[in-house]
Protein backbone atom coordinates (compact mmCIF):
# COMPACT_ATOMS: atom_id res chain seq x y z
CA UNK A 1 0.00 0.00 0.00
CA UNK A 2 1.82 3.08 1.06
CA UNK A 3 5.13 3.98 -0.41
CA UNK A 4 6.04 5.74 2.78
CA UNK A 5 8.88 3.37 3.02
CA UNK A 6 11.25 2.00 5.42
CA UNK A 7 12.72 4.89 7.13
CA UNK A 8 9.97 5.93 9.42
CA UNK A 9 10.88 9.11 11.15
CA UNK A 10 9.83 7.55 14.42
CA UNK A 11 13.30 6.27 14.71
CA UNK A 12 14.76 9.65 14.57
CA UNK A 13 15.97 9.28 17.95
CA UNK A 14 13.92 11.47 20.23
CA UNK A 15 14.67 10.80 23.78
CA UNK A 16 17.73 9.80 25.52
CA UNK A 17 17.67 6.53 27.23
CA UNK A 18 20.34 4.14 27.83
CA UNK A 19 20.74 1.26 30.09
CA UNK A 20 23.84 -0.52 29.07
CA UNK A 21 23.90 -3.92 30.59
CA UNK A 22 26.78 -6.22 30.40
CA UNK A 23 25.86 -9.60 29.03
CA UNK A 24 28.28 -12.44 29.16
CA UNK A 25 31.34 -11.90 31.22
CA UNK A 26 30.72 -10.02 34.38
CA UNK A 27 33.30 -7.76 35.85
CA UNK A 28 32.28 -5.01 33.59
CA UNK A 29 35.43 -3.10 32.91
CA UNK A 30 34.83 -0.85 30.01
CA UNK A 31 35.83 -1.58 26.52
CA UNK A 32 38.98 -2.79 24.93
CA UNK A 33 40.82 -3.41 28.13
CA UNK A 34 38.22 -5.83 29.44
CA UNK A 35 39.27 -8.65 31.71
CA UNK A 36 41.78 -11.07 30.33
CA UNK A 37 42.08 -9.12 27.09
CA UNK A 38 38.65 -10.28 25.93
CA UNK A 39 37.31 -8.87 22.66
CA UNK A 40 35.03 -5.90 23.33
CA UNK A 41 31.74 -6.38 21.47
CA UNK A 42 28.46 -4.49 21.32
CA UNK A 43 24.99 -5.72 20.42
CA UNK A 44 22.67 -2.80 19.69
CA UNK A 45 19.76 -4.90 20.96
CA UNK A 46 20.18 -7.46 23.71
CA UNK A 47 19.07 -10.36 21.48
CA UNK A 48 22.07 -9.71 19.22
CA UNK A 49 24.32 -9.25 22.25
CA UNK A 50 23.09 -12.59 23.51
CA UNK A 51 24.08 -14.38 20.29
CA UNK A 52 27.51 -12.68 20.32
CA UNK A 53 27.98 -14.00 23.86
CA UNK A 54 26.93 -17.50 22.82
CA UNK A 55 29.43 -17.59 19.93
CA UNK A 56 32.29 -15.69 21.58
CA UNK A 57 32.03 -17.33 24.99
CA UNK A 58 34.86 -16.44 27.33
CA UNK A 59 36.85 -14.60 24.68
CA UNK A 60 34.41 -11.73 24.30
CA UNK A 61 33.05 -9.07 26.60
CA UNK A 62 29.62 -8.10 25.31
CA UNK A 63 27.55 -5.01 26.02
CA UNK A 64 23.90 -4.66 25.02
CA UNK A 65 22.70 -1.14 24.34
CA UNK A 66 18.93 -1.70 24.39
CA UNK A 67 17.80 -4.22 26.91
CA UNK A 68 15.10 -2.69 29.10
CA UNK A 69 11.82 -4.42 28.28
CA UNK A 70 9.78 -1.48 29.56
CA UNK A 71 11.35 1.01 27.16
CA UNK A 72 10.36 1.69 23.59
CA UNK A 73 13.50 1.09 21.52
CA UNK A 74 12.03 3.30 18.79
CA UNK A 75 12.32 6.35 21.03
CA UNK A 76 15.85 5.98 22.17
CA UNK A 77 18.84 8.23 22.27
CA UNK A 78 22.40 7.67 23.17
CA UNK A 79 24.37 8.75 26.17
CA UNK A 80 28.09 9.29 26.39
CA UNK A 81 28.64 5.90 28.00
CA UNK A 82 27.12 4.22 24.95
CA UNK A 83 29.30 6.32 22.68
CA UNK A 84 32.30 5.07 24.62
CA UNK A 85 31.23 1.42 24.36
CA UNK A 86 30.82 1.79 20.61
CA UNK A 87 34.13 3.61 20.20
CA UNK A 88 36.00 0.82 21.98
CA UNK A 89 34.17 -2.13 20.44
CA UNK A 90 35.99 -4.44 18.02
CA UNK A 91 32.76 -6.13 16.90
CA UNK A 92 29.30 -4.58 16.62
CA UNK A 93 26.02 -6.18 15.64
CA UNK A 94 23.17 -3.84 14.80
CA UNK A 95 19.78 -4.37 13.22
CA UNK A 96 19.69 -1.65 10.57
CA UNK A 97 16.52 -0.54 8.73
CA UNK A 98 16.60 2.61 10.86
CA UNK A 99 15.74 0.67 14.02
CA UNK A 100 19.06 1.60 15.61
CA UNK A 101 20.09 4.56 13.49
CA UNK A 102 22.09 5.98 16.39
CA UNK A 103 24.63 3.15 16.04
CA UNK A 104 25.62 4.29 12.56
CA UNK A 105 25.96 7.83 13.87
CA UNK A 106 28.16 6.70 16.75
CA UNK A 107 30.33 4.57 14.50
CA UNK A 108 30.98 7.42 12.10
CA UNK A 109 31.75 9.65 15.09
CA UNK A 110 34.63 7.36 16.07
CA UNK A 111 36.00 5.80 12.88
CA UNK A 112 38.12 2.70 13.29
CA UNK A 113 39.63 0.50 10.63
CA UNK A 114 39.89 -2.50 12.92
CA UNK A 115 36.25 -2.49 14.03
CA UNK A 116 33.91 -4.95 12.35
CA UNK A 117 30.25 -4.04 12.04
CA UNK A 118 27.55 -6.56 11.20
CA UNK A 119 24.46 -4.72 9.97
CA UNK A 120 21.76 -7.38 9.88
CA UNK A 121 19.76 -5.60 7.18
CA UNK A 122 22.76 -5.60 4.86
CA UNK A 123 23.79 -9.10 5.91
CA UNK A 124 20.39 -10.37 4.76
CA UNK A 125 20.53 -8.23 1.62
CA UNK A 126 17.35 -6.33 2.49
CA UNK A 127 16.59 -3.07 0.74
CA UNK A 128 15.83 0.13 2.62
CA UNK A 129 12.22 -0.30 1.46
CA UNK A 130 11.74 -3.25 3.84
CA UNK A 131 8.92 -2.00 6.02
CA UNK A 132 9.13 -4.26 9.04
CA UNK A 133 12.43 -3.79 10.90
CA UNK A 134 11.90 -6.52 13.53
CA UNK A 135 14.22 -8.91 11.71
CA UNK A 136 15.13 -11.11 14.66
CA UNK A 137 11.67 -12.67 14.63
CA UNK A 138 12.44 -14.21 11.23
CA UNK A 139 13.72 -17.75 11.93
CA UNK A 140 16.38 -17.54 9.21
CA UNK A 141 17.91 -14.34 10.59
CA UNK A 142 19.82 -15.45 13.66
CA UNK A 143 21.59 -18.44 12.06
CA UNK A 144 22.99 -16.06 9.42
CA UNK A 145 23.93 -13.51 12.09
CA UNK A 146 25.63 -16.21 14.18
CA UNK A 147 27.70 -17.32 11.15
CA UNK A 148 28.75 -13.72 10.48
CA UNK A 149 29.71 -13.27 14.15
CA UNK A 150 31.78 -16.46 14.07
CA UNK A 151 33.54 -15.35 10.89
CA UNK A 152 34.37 -11.90 12.25
CA UNK A 153 35.50 -13.18 15.64
CA UNK A 154 37.81 -15.65 13.89
CA UNK A 155 39.26 -12.76 11.89
CA UNK A 156 39.79 -10.68 15.03
CA UNK A 157 41.28 -13.55 17.06
CA UNK A 158 42.42 -16.29 14.64
CA UNK A 159 44.00 -18.30 17.47
CA UNK A 160 40.53 -19.02 18.89
CA UNK A 161 38.88 -19.83 15.55
CA UNK A 162 38.22 -23.45 16.49
CA UNK A 163 36.57 -22.38 19.75
CA UNK A 164 34.21 -20.00 17.91
CA UNK A 165 33.40 -22.64 15.27
CA UNK A 166 32.49 -25.13 17.99
CA UNK A 167 30.21 -22.58 19.66
CA UNK A 168 28.56 -21.80 16.32
CA UNK A 169 27.84 -25.50 15.82
CA UNK A 170 26.38 -25.67 19.32
CA UNK A 171 24.22 -22.60 18.62
CA UNK A 172 22.93 -24.07 15.36
CA UNK A 173 22.03 -27.39 16.93
CA UNK A 174 20.30 -25.62 19.83
CA UNK A 175 17.98 -24.01 17.30
CA UNK A 176 16.63 -27.38 16.23
CA UNK A 177 13.98 -27.44 18.94
CA UNK A 178 12.70 -24.06 17.74
CA UNK A 179 12.75 -25.12 14.08
CA UNK A 180 10.84 -28.30 14.93
CA UNK A 181 8.26 -26.39 17.01
CA UNK A 182 7.67 -23.95 14.15
CA UNK A 183 7.23 -26.78 11.64
CA UNK A 184 4.86 -28.58 14.01
CA UNK A 185 2.83 -25.41 14.60
CA UNK A 186 2.64 -24.73 10.88
CA UNK A 187 1.35 -28.22 10.20
CA UNK A 188 -1.49 -27.82 12.70
CA UNK A 189 -2.55 -24.20 12.57
CA UNK A 190 -1.57 -22.90 9.15
CA UNK A 191 -3.99 -20.30 7.78
CA UNK A 192 -5.37 -19.20 11.17
CA UNK A 193 -5.98 -15.44 11.42
CA UNK A 194 -4.53 -13.38 14.26
CA UNK A 195 -4.34 -9.67 15.08
CA UNK A 196 -1.42 -7.57 16.30
CA UNK A 197 -0.91 -4.14 17.81
CA UNK A 198 2.44 -3.64 16.06
CA UNK A 199 4.43 -5.51 13.43
CA UNK A 200 6.85 -6.78 16.10
CA UNK A 201 6.38 -10.53 15.65
CA UNK A 202 5.01 -10.46 12.10
CA UNK A 203 7.95 -12.41 10.64
CA UNK A 204 7.44 -15.18 13.18
CA UNK A 205 3.70 -15.20 12.55
CA UNK A 206 4.18 -15.74 8.82
CA UNK A 207 6.82 -18.43 9.48
CA UNK A 208 4.19 -20.16 11.62
CA UNK A 209 1.71 -19.98 8.72
CA UNK A 210 -0.54 -17.54 10.60
CA UNK A 211 -2.34 -14.77 8.73
CA UNK A 212 -2.12 -11.31 10.26
CA UNK A 213 -5.52 -9.73 9.66
CA UNK A 214 -4.50 -6.32 11.08
CA UNK A 215 -4.31 -3.48 8.53
CA UNK A 216 -0.63 -2.64 7.96
CA UNK A 217 -1.46 1.06 8.32
CA UNK A 218 -2.57 0.50 11.89
CA UNK A 219 0.54 -1.45 12.81
CA UNK A 220 2.80 1.14 11.20
CA UNK A 221 1.05 4.06 12.93
CA UNK A 222 1.46 2.48 16.37
CA UNK A 223 5.09 1.62 15.59
CA UNK A 224 5.72 5.19 14.44
CA UNK A 225 4.12 6.70 17.54
CA UNK A 226 1.33 8.49 15.70
CA UNK A 227 -2.38 8.06 16.23
CA UNK A 228 -4.05 5.39 14.10
CA UNK A 229 -7.16 6.61 12.30
CA UNK A 230 -10.53 5.91 13.97
CA UNK A 231 -11.51 3.85 10.92
CA UNK A 232 -8.59 1.46 11.43
CA UNK A 233 -9.19 1.23 15.18
CA UNK A 234 -12.86 0.40 14.52
CA UNK A 235 -11.92 -2.22 11.92
CA UNK A 236 -9.49 -3.93 14.28
CA UNK A 237 -11.95 -3.75 17.18
CA UNK A 238 -14.56 -5.50 15.02
CA UNK A 239 -12.06 -8.21 14.02
CA UNK A 240 -11.46 -9.01 17.67
CA UNK A 241 -15.03 -8.61 18.90
CA UNK A 242 -16.42 -10.79 16.11
CA UNK A 243 -13.83 -13.50 16.83
CA UNK A 244 -12.46 -13.30 13.31
CA UNK A 245 -8.99 -13.59 14.84
CA UNK A 246 -7.83 -16.42 17.08
CA UNK A 247 -5.43 -14.33 19.16
CA UNK A 248 -4.12 -10.81 19.70
CA UNK A 249 -0.34 -10.43 19.67
CA UNK A 250 0.15 -7.53 22.06
CA UNK A 251 3.36 -5.53 22.11
CA UNK A 252 3.94 -5.54 25.85
CA UNK A 253 7.01 -3.36 25.51
CA UNK A 254 5.47 -0.46 23.60
CA UNK A 255 1.95 0.52 24.55
CA UNK A 256 -0.45 3.40 24.05
CA UNK A 257 -4.01 4.11 25.11
CA UNK A 258 -5.15 2.66 21.75
CA UNK A 259 -3.33 -0.64 22.17
CA UNK A 260 -4.45 -0.87 25.80
CA UNK A 261 -8.04 -0.37 24.71
CA UNK A 262 -7.69 -3.16 22.12
CA UNK A 263 -6.25 -5.39 24.80
CA UNK A 264 -9.33 -4.70 26.93
CA UNK A 265 -11.58 -5.54 23.97
CA UNK A 266 -9.74 -8.84 23.52
CA UNK A 267 -10.10 -9.64 27.21
CA UNK A 268 -13.81 -8.90 27.34
CA UNK A 269 -14.37 -10.83 24.09
CA UNK A 270 -12.33 -13.78 25.40
CA UNK A 271 -9.81 -13.58 22.59
CA UNK A 272 -6.48 -14.82 24.00
CA UNK A 273 -3.63 -12.31 24.23
CA UNK A 274 0.00 -13.14 23.55
CA UNK A 275 2.65 -10.74 24.82
CA UNK A 276 5.45 -10.02 22.35
CA UNK A 277 8.55 -7.91 22.90
CA UNK A 278 10.88 -5.67 20.96
CA UNK A 279 13.96 -6.78 22.86
CA UNK A 280 14.67 -9.97 24.77
CA UNK A 281 12.81 -10.16 28.10
CA UNK A 282 15.11 -10.66 31.06
CA UNK A 283 16.24 -12.47 33.01
CA UNK A 284 16.38 -16.14 32.25
CA UNK A 285 16.01 -16.04 28.49
CA UNK A 286 18.45 -16.48 25.70
CA UNK A 287 17.47 -15.87 22.09
CA UNK A 288 16.42 -19.47 21.44
CA UNK A 289 14.36 -19.90 24.60
CA UNK A 290 12.69 -16.50 24.04
CA UNK A 291 11.53 -17.43 20.54
CA UNK A 292 10.47 -20.86 21.75
CA UNK A 293 8.46 -19.23 24.55
CA UNK A 294 6.67 -17.05 21.98
CA UNK A 295 5.80 -20.12 19.86
CA UNK A 296 4.57 -21.93 22.97
CA UNK A 297 2.49 -18.91 24.01
CA UNK A 298 0.87 -18.85 20.56
CA UNK A 299 0.21 -22.60 20.73
CA UNK A 300 -1.30 -22.14 24.17
CA UNK A 301 -3.51 -19.33 22.83
CA UNK A 302 -4.76 -21.25 19.80
CA UNK A 303 -5.24 -24.61 21.47
CA UNK A 304 -6.21 -23.82 25.04
CA UNK A 305 -7.57 -20.29 24.37
CA UNK A 306 -5.43 -18.97 27.18
CA UNK A 307 -3.57 -15.68 27.33
CA UNK A 308 0.11 -15.11 28.04
CA UNK A 309 0.17 -11.56 29.34
CA UNK A 310 3.82 -11.57 30.39
CA UNK A 311 6.71 -13.79 29.40
CA UNK A 312 8.40 -14.99 32.52
Amino acid sequence: MTARGPRPWHRTVTAVAVVAVAVGLSGCNSGATSPGGAIAAVGAENQYANVIAQIGGRYVHVTAIMSNPSVDPHTFEVSTSVAQEVAQARLIVQNGLGYDQFMTQLESASPSSSRRVIDVQHLLGLSDATRNPHLWYKPTTMPAVARAIERDLATIAPSHAAYFAAHLARFDSSLQTLTASIADFRARASGTAVATTEPVADYLLSALGLVNATPWRFQADVMNGIDPSPEDVAALTRLIRDHRVAALCYNAQVTSSVTQALRAVAQSSHVPIVAVYETMPQPGYDYQSWMLAEVHALTFALRAHRSTLVLR
Partner: protein
Protein backbone atom coordinates in the same frame (compact mmCIF):
# COMPACT_ATOMS: atom_id res chain seq x y z
CA UNK B 1 -24.60 13.93 2.79
CA UNK B 2 -22.43 10.86 2.38
CA UNK B 3 -19.81 13.03 0.72
CA UNK B 4 -19.57 14.98 3.98
CA UNK B 5 -19.97 12.21 6.53
CA UNK B 6 -17.90 9.27 5.37
CA UNK B 7 -18.95 5.68 6.21
CA UNK B 8 -19.02 4.70 9.86
CA UNK B 9 -19.00 8.28 11.18
CA UNK B 10 -22.20 7.94 13.19
CA UNK B 11 -21.38 4.52 14.65
CA UNK B 12 -17.74 5.11 15.57
CA UNK B 13 -17.17 5.14 19.35
CA UNK B 14 -13.86 6.96 19.02
CA UNK B 15 -15.52 9.76 17.07
CA UNK B 16 -18.36 10.02 19.58
CA UNK B 17 -15.99 10.38 22.53
CA UNK B 18 -13.86 12.88 20.61
CA UNK B 19 -16.88 15.03 19.74
CA UNK B 20 -18.36 15.00 23.26
CA UNK B 21 -15.07 15.84 24.94
CA UNK B 22 -14.25 18.35 22.19
CA UNK B 23 -17.55 20.23 22.45
CA UNK B 24 -17.47 20.49 26.23
CA UNK B 25 -13.89 21.76 26.13
CA UNK B 26 -14.65 24.19 23.27
CA UNK B 27 -17.50 25.82 25.18
CA UNK B 28 -15.48 26.11 28.39
CA UNK B 29 -12.47 27.49 26.53
CA UNK B 30 -14.65 30.04 24.75
CA UNK B 31 -16.09 31.39 27.99
CA UNK B 32 -12.75 31.53 29.79
CA UNK B 33 -11.04 32.79 26.65
CA UNK B 34 -13.37 35.76 26.31
CA UNK B 35 -12.27 37.06 29.70
CA UNK B 36 -8.64 36.21 28.90
CA UNK B 37 -8.70 38.34 25.76
CA UNK B 38 -10.52 41.18 27.50
CA UNK B 39 -8.00 41.15 30.36
CA UNK B 40 -5.08 41.11 27.95
CA UNK B 41 -3.79 37.87 29.47
CA UNK B 42 -3.34 35.90 26.27
CA UNK B 43 0.37 35.61 26.90
CA UNK B 44 -0.26 34.30 30.41
CA UNK B 45 -2.65 31.80 28.85
CA UNK B 46 0.08 30.70 26.49
CA UNK B 47 2.59 30.34 29.32
CA UNK B 48 0.08 28.15 31.14
CA UNK B 49 -0.04 25.84 28.12
CA UNK B 50 3.68 25.33 28.54
CA UNK B 51 3.21 24.51 32.20
CA UNK B 52 0.42 22.16 31.18
CA UNK B 53 2.91 20.52 28.79
CA UNK B 54 5.18 19.80 31.73
CA UNK B 55 2.19 18.47 33.67
CA UNK B 56 1.09 16.23 30.80
CA UNK B 57 4.59 14.82 30.39
CA UNK B 58 4.78 14.32 34.15
CA UNK B 59 1.48 12.43 34.06
CA UNK B 60 3.03 9.87 31.71
CA UNK B 61 5.99 9.55 34.01
CA UNK B 62 3.75 9.03 37.03
CA UNK B 63 1.35 6.77 35.13
CA UNK B 64 -1.76 8.88 35.72
CA UNK B 65 -4.32 10.14 33.20
CA UNK B 66 -3.01 12.91 30.90
CA UNK B 67 -5.97 15.17 31.81
CA UNK B 68 -4.91 15.14 35.46
CA UNK B 69 -1.39 16.13 34.46
CA UNK B 70 -2.44 18.89 32.08
CA UNK B 71 -4.83 20.50 34.56
CA UNK B 72 -2.64 19.91 37.62
CA UNK B 73 0.40 21.35 35.87
CA UNK B 74 -1.56 24.37 34.72
CA UNK B 75 -2.89 25.13 38.21
CA UNK B 76 0.59 24.83 39.74
CA UNK B 77 1.89 27.18 37.07
CA UNK B 78 -0.90 29.64 37.78
CA UNK B 79 -0.02 29.68 41.46
CA UNK B 80 3.66 30.15 40.60
CA UNK B 81 2.89 33.02 38.26
CA UNK B 82 0.74 34.69 40.87
CA UNK B 83 3.40 34.25 43.53
CA UNK B 84 6.12 35.92 41.47
CA UNK B 85 3.92 38.82 40.61
CA UNK B 86 1.81 38.32 37.55
CA UNK B 87 -0.75 40.65 39.06
CA UNK B 88 1.32 43.77 38.65
CA UNK B 89 0.89 44.75 35.03
CA UNK B 90 4.45 45.99 34.83
CA UNK B 91 6.07 42.73 35.91
CA UNK B 92 3.48 40.53 34.27
CA UNK B 93 5.34 39.68 31.08
CA UNK B 94 8.56 38.98 32.95
CA UNK B 95 6.94 36.68 35.49
CA UNK B 96 5.09 34.91 32.69
CA UNK B 97 8.25 34.54 30.66
CA UNK B 98 10.20 33.09 33.57
CA UNK B 99 7.50 30.51 34.30
CA UNK B 100 7.22 29.68 30.58
CA UNK B 101 10.92 29.00 30.24
CA UNK B 102 11.12 26.93 33.40
CA UNK B 103 8.05 24.93 32.40
CA UNK B 104 9.43 24.00 28.99
CA UNK B 105 12.67 22.90 30.61
CA UNK B 106 10.78 20.67 33.01
CA UNK B 107 8.65 19.35 30.11
CA UNK B 108 11.81 18.44 28.21
CA UNK B 109 13.11 16.59 31.28
CA UNK B 110 9.84 14.71 31.81
CA UNK B 111 9.54 13.67 28.16
CA UNK B 112 13.16 12.48 28.30
CA UNK B 113 12.57 10.50 31.49
CA UNK B 114 9.31 8.99 30.30
CA UNK B 115 11.02 7.77 27.13
CA UNK B 116 13.68 6.17 29.28
CA UNK B 117 11.47 4.53 31.85
CA UNK B 118 8.06 3.94 30.33
CA UNK B 119 6.85 1.86 27.46
CA UNK B 120 4.34 4.45 26.31
CA UNK B 121 4.71 5.34 22.66
CA UNK B 122 3.58 8.56 21.03
CA UNK B 123 3.91 10.51 24.29
CA UNK B 124 5.48 13.56 22.68
CA UNK B 125 2.81 13.71 20.01
CA UNK B 126 0.00 13.41 22.55
CA UNK B 127 1.41 15.97 24.96
CA UNK B 128 2.43 18.61 22.45
CA UNK B 129 -0.06 18.28 19.63
CA UNK B 130 -2.97 16.35 21.06
CA UNK B 131 -4.54 12.99 20.36
CA UNK B 132 -8.27 13.48 20.76
CA UNK B 133 -8.91 10.16 19.00
CA UNK B 134 -7.00 8.33 21.72
CA UNK B 135 -8.94 9.88 24.63
CA UNK B 136 -10.51 7.16 26.72
CA UNK B 137 -14.31 7.37 27.23
CA UNK B 138 -13.65 7.24 30.98
CA UNK B 139 -12.16 10.76 30.68
CA UNK B 140 -15.57 12.16 29.76
CA UNK B 141 -17.00 12.46 33.31
CA UNK B 142 -13.81 14.22 34.48
CA UNK B 143 -14.01 16.69 31.61
CA UNK B 144 -17.69 17.30 32.37
CA UNK B 145 -17.28 18.09 36.07
CA UNK B 146 -14.20 20.22 35.53
CA UNK B 147 -16.09 22.24 32.94
CA UNK B 148 -19.02 22.61 35.28
CA UNK B 149 -16.71 23.80 38.05
CA UNK B 150 -15.06 26.34 35.75
CA UNK B 151 -18.37 27.71 34.46
CA UNK B 152 -19.96 27.94 37.91
CA UNK B 153 -16.89 29.72 39.30
CA UNK B 154 -16.94 32.16 36.42
CA UNK B 155 -20.64 32.81 36.90
CA UNK B 156 -20.00 33.66 40.56
CA UNK B 157 -17.18 36.10 39.88
CA UNK B 158 -18.47 37.33 36.50
CA UNK B 159 -19.47 40.84 37.57
CA UNK B 160 -16.36 41.87 39.49
CA UNK B 161 -14.23 40.06 36.93
CA UNK B 162 -15.81 41.92 34.04
CA UNK B 163 -15.48 45.22 35.83
CA UNK B 164 -11.81 44.66 36.67
CA UNK B 165 -11.18 43.48 33.12
CA UNK B 166 -12.52 46.68 31.60
CA UNK B 167 -11.25 49.19 34.16
CA UNK B 168 -9.02 48.38 37.11
CA UNK B 169 -9.51 51.83 38.65
CA UNK B 170 -13.28 51.69 38.43
CA UNK B 171 -13.34 48.20 39.90
CA UNK B 172 -11.12 49.27 42.79
CA UNK B 173 -13.35 52.27 43.42
CA UNK B 174 -16.35 49.97 43.57
CA UNK B 175 -14.63 47.84 46.21
CA UNK B 176 -13.72 44.82 44.06
CA UNK B 177 -10.99 42.76 45.65
CA UNK B 178 -8.75 42.73 42.59
CA UNK B 179 -6.22 40.30 43.99
CA UNK B 180 -8.82 37.65 44.83
CA UNK B 181 -10.54 38.04 41.48
CA UNK B 182 -7.19 37.83 39.68
CA UNK B 183 -6.13 34.64 41.45
CA UNK B 184 -9.50 32.97 40.93
CA UNK B 185 -9.37 33.83 37.25
CA UNK B 186 -5.87 32.58 36.61
CA UNK B 187 -6.67 29.25 38.28
CA UNK B 188 -9.81 28.95 36.15
CA UNK B 189 -7.69 29.81 33.11
CA UNK B 190 -5.22 27.07 34.02
CA UNK B 191 -7.98 24.46 34.22
CA UNK B 192 -9.39 25.57 30.86
CA UNK B 193 -5.96 25.43 29.23
CA UNK B 194 -5.35 21.94 30.63
CA UNK B 195 -8.66 20.75 29.25
CA UNK B 196 -8.10 22.16 25.80
CA UNK B 197 -4.66 20.49 25.79
CA UNK B 198 -6.57 17.19 25.72
CA UNK B 199 -8.22 18.17 22.44
CA UNK B 200 -5.46 19.83 20.44
CA UNK B 201 -2.35 19.36 22.56
CA UNK B 202 -0.70 21.61 25.08
CA UNK B 203 1.23 23.68 22.56
CA UNK B 204 -1.89 24.42 20.51
CA UNK B 205 -4.35 24.82 23.37
CA UNK B 206 -4.00 28.60 23.27
CA UNK B 207 -5.52 28.49 19.78
CA UNK B 208 -8.78 27.06 21.12
CA UNK B 209 -8.69 29.36 24.13
CA UNK B 210 -7.91 32.65 22.37
CA UNK B 211 -8.99 32.11 18.75
CA UNK B 212 -12.81 31.85 18.97
CA UNK B 213 -13.18 34.62 21.62
CA UNK B 214 -10.88 36.91 19.64
CA UNK B 215 -13.03 36.36 16.54
CA UNK B 216 -16.26 36.81 18.49
CA UNK B 217 -15.06 40.02 20.18
CA UNK B 218 -14.37 41.48 16.76
CA UNK B 219 -17.99 41.32 15.70
CA UNK B 220 -20.14 41.13 18.84
CA UNK B 221 -21.38 44.25 20.60
CA UNK B 222 -22.16 42.79 24.01
CA UNK B 223 -20.13 40.50 26.27
CA UNK B 224 -22.98 37.99 26.51
CA UNK B 225 -23.34 37.78 22.74
CA UNK B 226 -19.60 37.49 22.39
CA UNK B 227 -19.37 34.56 24.81
CA UNK B 228 -22.20 32.75 23.01
CA UNK B 229 -20.66 33.42 19.62
CA UNK B 230 -17.22 32.30 20.80
CA UNK B 231 -18.71 29.07 22.14
CA UNK B 232 -20.40 28.49 18.80
CA UNK B 233 -17.20 29.16 16.86
CA UNK B 234 -15.21 26.85 19.15
CA UNK B 235 -17.74 24.04 18.80
CA UNK B 236 -17.82 24.56 15.04
CA UNK B 237 -14.01 24.42 14.78
CA UNK B 238 -13.82 21.30 16.93
CA UNK B 239 -16.64 19.57 15.05
CA UNK B 240 -15.19 20.36 11.64
CA UNK B 241 -11.74 19.37 12.88
CA UNK B 242 -12.89 15.94 14.03
CA UNK B 243 -15.05 15.45 10.92
CA UNK B 244 -12.29 16.38 8.47
CA UNK B 245 -9.74 14.27 10.31
CA UNK B 246 -12.13 11.33 10.06
CA UNK B 247 -12.94 12.04 6.40
CA UNK B 248 -9.29 12.58 5.45
CA UNK B 249 -8.87 8.79 5.74
CA UNK B 250 -10.82 8.58 2.47
CA UNK B 251 -9.11 11.48 0.72
CA UNK B 252 -5.92 9.64 -0.16
CA UNK B 253 -5.54 6.22 -1.74
CA UNK B 254 -3.09 5.37 1.05
CA UNK B 255 -5.86 5.87 3.67
CA UNK B 256 -3.53 7.98 5.77
CA UNK B 257 -5.69 10.33 7.82
CA UNK B 258 -4.55 13.79 8.91
CA UNK B 259 -4.49 14.95 12.55
CA UNK B 260 -7.45 16.63 14.24
CA UNK B 261 -5.32 19.42 15.72
CA UNK B 262 -4.37 20.71 12.30
CA UNK B 263 -7.97 21.01 11.13
CA UNK B 264 -9.18 22.60 14.38
CA UNK B 265 -6.51 25.27 14.25
CA UNK B 266 -7.07 25.83 10.51
CA UNK B 267 -10.78 26.45 11.09
CA UNK B 268 -10.03 28.79 14.00
CA UNK B 269 -7.72 30.86 11.81
CA UNK B 270 -10.31 30.94 9.03
CA UNK B 271 -12.94 32.12 11.53
CA UNK B 272 -10.64 34.89 12.67
CA UNK B 273 -10.02 36.07 9.12
CA UNK B 274 -13.75 36.13 8.39
CA UNK B 275 -14.45 37.97 11.66
CA UNK B 276 -11.79 40.55 10.87
CA UNK B 277 -13.33 41.21 7.47
CA UNK B 278 -16.81 41.43 8.97
CA UNK B 279 -15.59 43.79 11.66
CA UNK B 280 -14.57 46.43 9.11
CA UNK B 281 -18.21 46.78 8.24
CA UNK B 282 -19.57 46.90 11.78
CA UNK B 283 -17.09 48.52 14.12
CA UNK B 284 -17.46 46.75 17.42
CA UNK B 285 -17.60 48.79 20.59
CA UNK B 286 -16.13 45.90 22.56
CA UNK B 287 -13.00 45.85 20.46
CA UNK B 288 -12.65 49.59 20.84
CA UNK B 289 -12.81 49.08 24.60
CA UNK B 290 -10.12 46.41 24.79
CA UNK B 291 -7.81 47.39 21.99
CA UNK B 292 -5.75 50.02 23.84
CA UNK B 293 -4.60 47.25 26.16
CA UNK B 294 -3.00 45.53 23.22
CA UNK B 295 -2.62 41.80 22.98
CA UNK B 296 0.21 39.63 21.99
Amino acid sequence: MTWLFEPGWWANGTVRTALLVGFIVAVTSAVVGTFTVMRGQSFAGHALTDVATAGGAGAFLAGVAPLVGFVGGGVLGAVAMDTIGVQRVKGRDIATGVVLGAAMGVAALFLFLSARTSSATGTTQLVLFGSIFTVSPSTLPDVAWMSAAVLVTLAVVARPLLLSSLSVELAAARGVRLRVVGVVFIVVLAVAVGMSAIVIGAILSTALLIGPPASALRVARRVGTSVALAAGLGVLATGIGVLFAYDSYYWFPSHRGLPVSFFVVAVIVAEYVVASVARRRTRSTLVAAIEPEGWT
